[in-house]
């Protein structure tokens, strides 16, 4: 219990406490002292100080902060989650006949500036390489904030005839956006990992179809894997991708902060880039035509949204489908008990589960108490814990403890594998249901500006009738500007409630054209 590693935990926590000292108000101190004694647990509650809570959960083996602000280290626990999503999505892309490739990190200013709207959107965030070794570069090079301008000259080169279409490429890589707004691990960082798909088609219909096909894959990542409920919809003119025709997105919502968070985007670029980069092809009639393009991406932000949605005061809660360890098996030996027998039972349980394709691990470390281990694995969010003690051994059973709701059960070892499989499915479903109910409780349908202001104050996810005019959105942004950022459109859901004739826009009083989600966002 008093091993050196234990000390390490304390050291780390003390550091956290010290860092917190400056920002946290009075009252927090007592809790921190308690935490210092056990060396475990979080110093703040999710409902009391969400920002601090999030940062502490992330620091627990998911992320490490780094000397460069806004750059984070992805530790094995979060990297493994990213790899699980990668495995799912990459396989789906291969089914869609999208091919992986890799384009360079460096963008010449010429290429970057080719598309005016695009450069206006990204220029302020670009990081520039200006030197190699000791010498200055003749022309500074940008580090890709996204790869449209790197890739499309090659699309122009590779696409000749209609038989070269569709061209469907994807790359998994890092991108850099040197933003100055408040960095948040996973959610907003200066460097992040993503996949970016770039495709070209002969017809707009094909492009339109793919936009939605990919958006559906993104929905599946969030809802089926991360158990995060989302809304699919269309971005407003103001919020769409710089240089594109239209942007679809999936939007999640964080009830604690009342902020929307854009989960992933699938853009139809139309022919704008094709025009700039001369991406032409010869159609079946022998005429020169321009391609229709899409681009789409999801990032490591997914992990942040998942943490925010499910975590609780004990730490992370991971949905089984993306948990690097789905079941942790912990021996609970007593003084006179058959310790070896218990350890063997633990190992046998792990083997049986692993053979059945369940990601299981035992924690047989002898320098930690079972209680310490419970807390540690709860903090890491492992969905299911199995405890095996002397009495369990006697009765040929194990005890299961769910991370999502704490429910404990004694299960005969006979049917364990099947039972665990069922439990993991139940946990996955339950996590999604709980998150969905929480989100739905936040949705507020409003019709007037007053209702809008109130709902915004109450951190609601606002659904409002809107005239769909750019100026009106800009005006709303101006009127709601404050310390916590301005409100803007999140998306107009594809699933539109009925809009009765004569409904007016909540902001402009003009006839409303659609229902749109509004809120502050990450």
């Amino acid at each position: 219990m008093d091993g050196p590693s234990e000390k390490k935990e304390k050291v780390v926590k003390e550091k956290v406490v010290k860092e917190k000292g400056a920002t946290s108000g009075p009252g927090g101190k007592k809790k921190k002292d308690v935490k210092k004694e056990t060396g475990l647990g979080l110093s703040v509650k999710k409902d009391e100080n969400f920002g601090e809570w999030y940062s502490e959960v992330c620091k627990h083996e998911m992320i490490e902060y780094y000397d460069i602000s806004g750059c984070y280290i992805l530790r094995p626990w979060s990297m493994a989650i990213w790899e699980i999503m990668h495995a799912f999505f990459d396989a789906e892309l291969k089914k869609m006949k999208v091919k992986n490739c890799y384009f360079p990190l460096f963008v010449s200013p010429g290429a970057l500036e080719r598309e005016t709207d695009h450069i206006e959107g990204f220029a302020p965030e670009v990081a520039w390489v200006t030197k190699s070794g000791k010498s200055d570069l003749e022309v500074p090079l940008a580090i890709r904030p996204t790869s449209e301008t790197v890739m499309y000259p090659y699309f122009s080169k590779w696409i000749r005839g209609h038989r070269d279409l569709p061209l469907k490429l994807n790359q998994w890589c890092n991108v850099v956006r040197w933003e100055f707004s408040n960095p948040t691990p996973f959610i907003r960082s200066r460097e992040f990992l993503w996949q970016e798909g770039h495709t070209a088609f002969a017809t707009k219909e094909e492009a339109d179809e793919e936009v939605l096909q990919v958006l559906e894959l993104y929905r599946r990542i969030y809802e089926e894997y991360l158990a995060v409920p989302i809304v699919k919809g269309m971005k407003s003119e103001n919020e769409k991708f710089a240089g594109g025709l239209y942007t679809t997105s999936i939007e999640a919502f964080i009830p604690n902060t009342g902020r929307g968070v854009q989960g992933a985007t699938s853009h139809c670029l139309g022919q704008n880039f094709a025009k700039m980069f001369e991406i032409n092809y010869e159609n079946e009639k022998g005429e020169t035509a321009m391609v229709w393009q899409n681009s789409w991406a999801y990032t490591t932000r997914t992990i942040g949204v998942m943490i925010m949605t499910h975590g609780d005061d004990k730490g992370l809660i991971l949905p089984p489908k993306i948990a690097p360890v789905q079941v942790v098996v912990i021996p609970v030996p007593y003084k006179d008990a058959n310790t070896q027998g218990i350890f063997d039972a633990c190992s046998a349980t792990v083997s049986a589960l692993s053979e059945a394709g369940i990601r299981a691990e035992e924690d047989l470390r002898d320098n930690y108490s079972p209680g310490w281990k419970y807390s540690n694995w709860e903090m890491k969010g492992v969905p299911l814990r199995i405890e095996i003690g002397p009495r369990d051994l006697e009765n040929d059973q194990v005890r299961t403890v769910r991370r999502d709701n704490g429910v404990k059960e004694d299960i005969p070892r006979g049917g364990l594998v099947e039972h665990v499989k069922e439990l993991l499915v139940k946990i996955q479903e339950n996590m999604f249901e709980v998150a969905k109910q929480k989100r739905e409780a936040c949705v507020e349908v409003i019709k007037t500006w007053d209702e809008f202001s109130n709902a915004l104050k109450e951190k609601k996810l606002i659904l409002a009738p809107w005239c769909d005019e750019k100026e009106v959105e800009i005006d709303v942004k101006g009127r709601t500007k404050g310390e916590t950022g301005a409100a803007k459109t999140l998306c107009s859901p594809f699933d539109q409630p009925e809009l009765p004739e004569g409904t007016l826009c909540f902001a402009s009083g003009k006839p409303a054209k659609k229902w749109t989600y509004w809120g502050r966002s990450y």
Partner: protein, 544 residues
């Protein structure tokens, strides 16, 4: 026969003689897009695609040429293969490259194999930031000396001058150690074994696709251990994994060994390497594993409390394999016709070419081809059915041979009626590699294909081994060494001379010590340079 079956360049296929675009447009398209591949190494230091050697470019485009024969001009052949087989293209910035899907799929096969091996041996993946504060790089003296000329530096971000310039990672030892120092406290935290798949940047002057580019993809493993023995064991284990990978998956008979002091990684105590002989007999360093000793842990103060509670510096390793390996595969197995891929890492293992003349034959042939494809795919093979009617079967044969597909299955009307197929091996040209009358029946065909692919895999390795062994000369004097090197071979001889002597060999012959191979001849040895007793033989060769 060979002459009429040559592969036309892709450009000529895309731009047949008849004008499909207005001449002016065509010209601009050419100039913008088709930089000759050989320009890769010599491109000026400007940043965008240059317009040099326009006339040469147009000449190349005009000539309806095959891949330059390997025997004629190895370098031109290499660049032609990369272009024609659609493995890679030039990046928009000098010395960078675009890895196209076919080339990337080979990299994915490499990743897939190694990633599993790394996990089996207890390593976890993670991701470190790409930017490293310049001050980190400066901490380990020999490291900064080795890398500083090649560093790309970010000084402006988001429209502002940065307070500290940031290095775009050339390798991650420094940032890894910075973090290890915070994560490692006691012996219980050891060993710490991680790996990352990432891009790295080194501002090289002489570049060549896959072999040496400003930016490349790799995996870098980093480990920390409590004892020097464990670190040494780890460094050796990883070079063994690379060696096995090279032999078993890529059929490249690499020679594992230890680097000389001059060639050791900047900041390492010992560097282990696998050295491969390319088709032009130059050596390619295909992977390295470093025993870093305590160099970085001392520079960064990476310490742990041992079982007695005493503070010790950790012992470390790092090891890497990069997209350079793809270049190694091309240059080991390719021939005059183009690429030749070992079945185990080939993105497409079998290509099916249906053959029909009359329309009434088409349906039967295509449906037979589809069911063959289905059967092979179900059995787990990577199969491509080339059923376009735009190209003749002969054109397709050449095209897929150039792309290096190990096996081709031909199905014509007569094969359909006899319920059989024709199978051709890429590694045995002409009739000798062609077998008729293989039953189309799924289980027979699957068994046959499997057997042939295995045969090709081992045959490629055997061929490479005998090529390698016939090009290594045992030498006992400097004269013999010089002779071996000047005839393009590798020289293996006893060596215990000084660094200055090694430098002299480099200056006078262009050859460097590739490694002291693990496999050493028995008996007493005298240094080929000095006549003093020598412990080991070293291998000298010119290298990439």
């Amino acid at each position: 026969m060979v002459a009429c079956l040559r592969v036309p360049s892709l450009t000529s296929l895309l731009f047949p003689a008849t004008t499909r675009y207005p001449a002016s447009l065509r010209r601009t398209v050419y100039l913008r897009n088709r930089r000759p591949l050989s320009g890769f190494a010599t491109a000026p230091s400007g940043t965008t695609a240059s317009t040099e050697t326009k006339s040469a470019e147009v000449d190349r485009l005009k000539s309806d040429r095959a891949v330059t024969p390997r025997t004629k001009d190895f370098n031109a052949w290499y660049l032609d293969v990369i272009g024609s087989a659609e493995l890679a293209d030039y990046g928009p910035v000098r010395g960078t490259m675009v890895i196209r899907p076919y080339g990337y799929a080979i990299w994915e096969a490499i990743q897939e194999y190694l990633n599993v091996k790394f996990k089996e041996t207890g390593h976890s993946n993670m991701y470190f930031p790409q930017f490293i504060p310049y001050s980190f790089i400066e901490k380990e003296a020999s490291h900064v000396e080795g890398f500083s000329p090649e560093l790309a530096l970010v000084t402006v971000g988001g429209g502002k001058e940065l307070e500290e310039k940031l290095v775009v990672r050339p390798t991650s030892e420094t940032i890894v150690n910075h973090m290890f120092t915070q994560w490692i406290h006691s012996y219980r935290d050891l060993p710490l074994m991680i790996n990352q798949w990432a891009n790295v940047t080194r501002w090289e002057m002489r570049t060549k696709p896959f072999i040496r580019t400003l930016e490349f993809l790799w995996q870098e493993g980093h480990t920390a251990h409590a004892t020097p023995e464990e670190a040494e064991k780890e460094a050796k284990q990883m070079i063994e994994i690379y060696t096995r990978f090279a032999f078993e998956q890529t059929a490249i008979p690499v020679i594992p060994g230890r680097k000389s002091k001059l060639e050791t990684f900047a900041g390492a105590d010992i560097t282990y390497t696998i050295e491969a002989m390319m088709g032009d007999r130059k050596a390619l360093q295909a992977g390295t594993s470093h025993n870093l000793g305590q160099n970085f842990s001392r520079a960064f103060g990476t310490q742990f409390a041992d079982e007695n509670g005493e503070r010790q510096h950790v012992w470390q390793t790092s090891w890497a394999v990069s997209t350079r390996f793809v270049g190694g595969i091309i240059m080991t197995h390719g021939d005059d016709t183009g690429l030749m891929l070992p079945p185990k890492i080939a993105p497409i293992q079998v290509v099916i070419v249906p053959i029909w003349k009359k329309d009434n034959e088409k349906t039967g042939v295509l449906s037979a081809a589809s069911s063959v494809k289905e059967a092979l795919q179900t059995a787990g093979f990577r199969v491509k059915l080339d059923d376009t009617d735009q190209r003749t079967p002969g054109w397709k044969f050449n095209f897929w041979e150039m792309k290096g597909i190990p096996l081709r299955i031909e199905i014509g009307p007569r094969d359909v009626s006899s319920n059989s197929v024709v199978v051709s091996r890429r590694d045995i040209p002409g009739k000798a590699g062609k077998v008729f009358g293989i039953s189309m029946e799924a289980s027979t065909l699957v068994a046959y294909v499997k057997e042939k692919l295995d045969e090709i895999q081992s045959s490629l390795l055997e061929k490479a081994v005998s090529f390698r062994d016939s090009n290594i000369v045992d030498v006992n004097s400097y004269d013999e060494l010089k002779e071996a090197i000047s005839s393009g071979k590798w020289a293996r001889g006893p060596w215990s001379a000084s660094d200055a002597d090694e430098q002299r060999v480099k200056e006078e012959t262009g050859a460097t010590i590739r490694c002291y191979p693990f496999e050493q001849p028995k008996g007493t040895k005298t240094c080929l340079m000095t006549g003093n007793p020598a412990e080991e033989v070293a291998i000298f060769a010119k290298s990439y």
